[in-house]
């Protein structure tokens, strides 16, 4: 068996230079050594792969039609063996993805790793962030329950407020003036074809750019100290990455087990007793739009389009505005303060949205 394996290996090696490829993939020196702080990117890749696998499995039974989406999702949950697990894993996986994106971006921000020469890695990363949010948004329409219907209705109405292209964009997404079968078809194809394709392409580019620029390494330490601690990507960093993946897998599976997906009533334009609410990671935006300052046509544009848009633009411009080569977060008080304000802001808005639930009942 070993001899056969060796023959196959040699055959491939002769044609494509497997050893070089292996060296390029695994023997990347990490300045200052492997760290737990560097696991987020790899974990994101892992979560994405698991989302792709569970997503494909869900499509074995799911029917993307307004007549059958709800029933086929119920079928997955209640009748297909372990269907509840696959669906719940996919559901909690999407939340894990959002959490991990925030962790990854925070790490890169705090470590000053977006600075020269890694600006392009950062930019492609921001596009990937957008894709992850788009995945979440298009994904939860698919079960066609009340949560799905209302989150989509409101989400698309928000996009409608984009200047110039808003009306077209909203109609394009809905596939008509009002949500219906065409909306489901479009969200389905965006969720299972367009976004995965875009994400795979951009994630590949992200990795290529990252490897071209090289890892940033720690933000303190003399060159000698960094050199002394340097090790390769494999085995120590890979070991940390796989441990983190294991923990994430365990957490998602546990959540799927103790809090499996339960559908609300089937989607319909009558909300009944249901208080529409988006997925938790959109709650802060949802709560923001409840504020009096964001009332009226202009206020709504400000809260729903202008502020999130400007925030994204600011992130895009960040490596070009912040040209100070200092990477130590403790010597970048403004950056630290901004990060804390954004994080606390999101946390406070999310918690207040949850507290508001009580007031509604």
């Amino acid at each position: 068996m070993n001899a056969l394996f060796q023959q196959v290996y040699d055959f491939v090696e002769e044609r494509i230079g497997l050893k070089t490829l292996e060296a390029k993939l695994m023997k990347e020196p990490i300045k200052g050594g492997s760290r737990w702080a560097y696991v987020f990117g790899s974990v994101l890749l892992f979560i994405f792969i698991m989302q792709a696998i569970t997503g494909m499995l869900l499509m074995f039974y799911y029917i993307p039609s307004a007549d059958h989406a709800y029933a086929s999702t119920q079928f997955i949950i209640h009748e297909v063996d372990y269907g509840w697990y696959i669906l719940s894993y996919h559901f909690w996986g999407s939340s894990a993805m959002v959490v991990m994106v925030f962790a990854h971006m925070s790490q890169v921000f705090l470590w000053g790793a977006y600075k020269k020469p890694r600006e392009m890695v950062w930019l492609v990363g921001l596009a990937l962030f957008g894709l992850v949010m788009a995945f979440g948004f298009t994904g939860y329409l698919l079960p066609w329950d009340q949560r799905a219907y209302w989150a989509t209705t409101v989400g698309v109405e928000i996009m409608d407020k984009t200047p110039v292209i808003g009306d077209f964009l909203a109609r394009f997404l809905k596939g008509g003036p009002t949500p219906g079968q065409m909306t489901l078809s479009r969200f389905f194809v965006i969720h299972v074809m367009i976004l995965p394709g875009a994400l795979m392409g951009l994630a590949g580019l992200h990795l290529f750019l990252f490897r071209s620029a090289g890892p940033a390494g720690p933000f303190r330490g003399t060159p000698d100290e960094l050199k002394a601690k340097t090790d390769f990507f494999f085995p120590r960093q890979v070991w940390k990455d796989i441990m983190a993946m294991g923990v994430v897998f365990l957490i998602i599976s546990t959540l799927a087990l103790i809090e499996p997906v339960q559908l609300l009533e089937q989607a319909t334009p009558d909300p009944g007793d249901y208080h529409p609410e988006p997925e938790w990671y959109f709650l802060f935006l949802f709560q923001l739009l409840r504020w009096k300052v964001f009332s009226g046509e202009f206020g709504q544009f400000l809260g729903a389009i202008a502020i999130p848009g400007l925030f994204m633009l600011l992130l895009v411009a960040l490596p070009f505005i912040d040209r100070n080569p200092e990477r130590n977060i403790f010597k970048r008080p403004i950056a630290l303060l901004c990060w804390a304000v954004v994080m606390i802001g999101i946390a406070v808005l999310t918690v207040s949205a949850i507290l508001n639930r009580e007031f509604l009942d």
């Binding site: 209302w150 077209f168 079968q181 009558d270 949802f286 046509e297």
Partner: protein
């Protein structure tokens, strides 16, 4: 004549002719098809010349011996950089696995057909043009294809939603749900729709009709229906004019009975006027017909949410 298959002349090696040293190896030139060294570039008195490998008598670690006299060396063609491509400038698989030339460079001849700059520009332009010619005719059909359902004409059908006998009191929001069956692409579907009807007191009616009768038009601006203040029943679209959620009739701590949207907490009075919250305009009144028997009929018009003005979309 030495066997030159797989020859790996060392860069910086001293080059000796039959009558003594003449310079050093500065680069190697490879044949891009056989991936073997075809020439060495010998640097002698500041000029670089291409010496074919057949001229090499022997080579070891530090020296390359040529089978010619030093007087013959100037007869070899000069090495012109522009006539060659370095292995970094061209994609030849396995070339660098086969030949090592550090700290110099491996060169391959610049192909004859590639030297004409005019043709290169022409091909670039032609490729772009062909791309546009392929892509451009595709744009219009694709746009039409995806836009097909986006601007569907308005539906002006009347729907029976219930009877006024359900309303017991003036100035109270009463929900009327009805099954709306319609064709949704190839599907024949039924949806629960939701409207609110108020039996308005004279004061409420006055508030609602403060700008006179309410006129409804179709896509092209023809009047479809006019609601008049003489009818005391008023139907509101169930869609919140803020961002399209479904609002409810609730009692509020300080404001009493109001329409309240649980999404972004817009609050409207019974006449649909915004009391609080982010909504940009009052609730949308629908065309309403009441039969002598009290049957309520409405046109299920939908307006765009989030606009100060009503914009009909369905």
């Amino acid at each position: 004549m030495m066997e030159h298959m797989g020859l790996q002349p060392k860069i910086k090696s001293t080059v000796r002719c039959l009558d003594g040293p003449i310079g050093e190896v500065s680069h190697v030139i490879a044949d891009p098809l056989t991936l073997e060294v075809s020439h060495i570039v010998v640097k002698s008195n500041g000029t670089e010349r291409q010496v074919p490998v057949e001229t090499i008598r022997s080579a070891d670690e530090n020296t390359v011996e040529l089978s010619c006299k030093s007087a013959q060396v100037p007869e070899f063609p000069a090495f012109v950089r522009a006539d060659f491509l370095s292995s970094k400038e061209v994609e030849i698989p396995h070339l660098e696995d086969r030949i090592h030339a550090e700290p110099g460079e491996i060169f391959v001849p610049f192909p004859e057909l590639e030297r004409s700059c005019a043709r290169r520009t022409f091909f670039t332009g032609f490729t772009t043009l062909m791309g546009v010619l392929i892509g451009f005719p595709f744009v219009w059909p694709v746009l039409q294809y995806v836009m097909k359902p986006m601007y569907a004409p308005f539906d002006n059908r009347w729907w029976k939603i219930g009877n006024t006998s359900k309303i017991k009191q003036e100035d109270i929001g009463v929900q009327f749900t009805f099954k709306k069956s319609f064709r949704d692409s190839v599907l024949q579907r039924e949806e629960d729709k939701n409207n609110w009807v108020v039996k308005a007191s004279p004061a409420t009616l006055k508030q609602i009709y403060q700008h006179g009768d309410i006129t409804f038009t179709d896509n092209v601006g023809n009047v479809v229906w006019v609601n008049r203040a003489t009818v005391p029943y008023v139907a509101y679209s169930g869609k919140c004019p803020h961002l399209g959620c479904g609002y409810k009739w609730r009692s509020h701590k300080t404001r009493g009975q109001v329409f309240l949207c649980p999404c972004h907490l817009s609050i409207y009075d019974v006449a649909g006027t915004v009391l609080d919250g982010p909504a940009p305009r009052p609730l949308d009144v629908l065309p309403i017909k009441i039969s002598p028997a009290g049957e309520i009929e409405v046109i299920d018009i939908e307006f765009k949410a989030g606009k100060r003005e009503q914009v009909r979309i369905a």
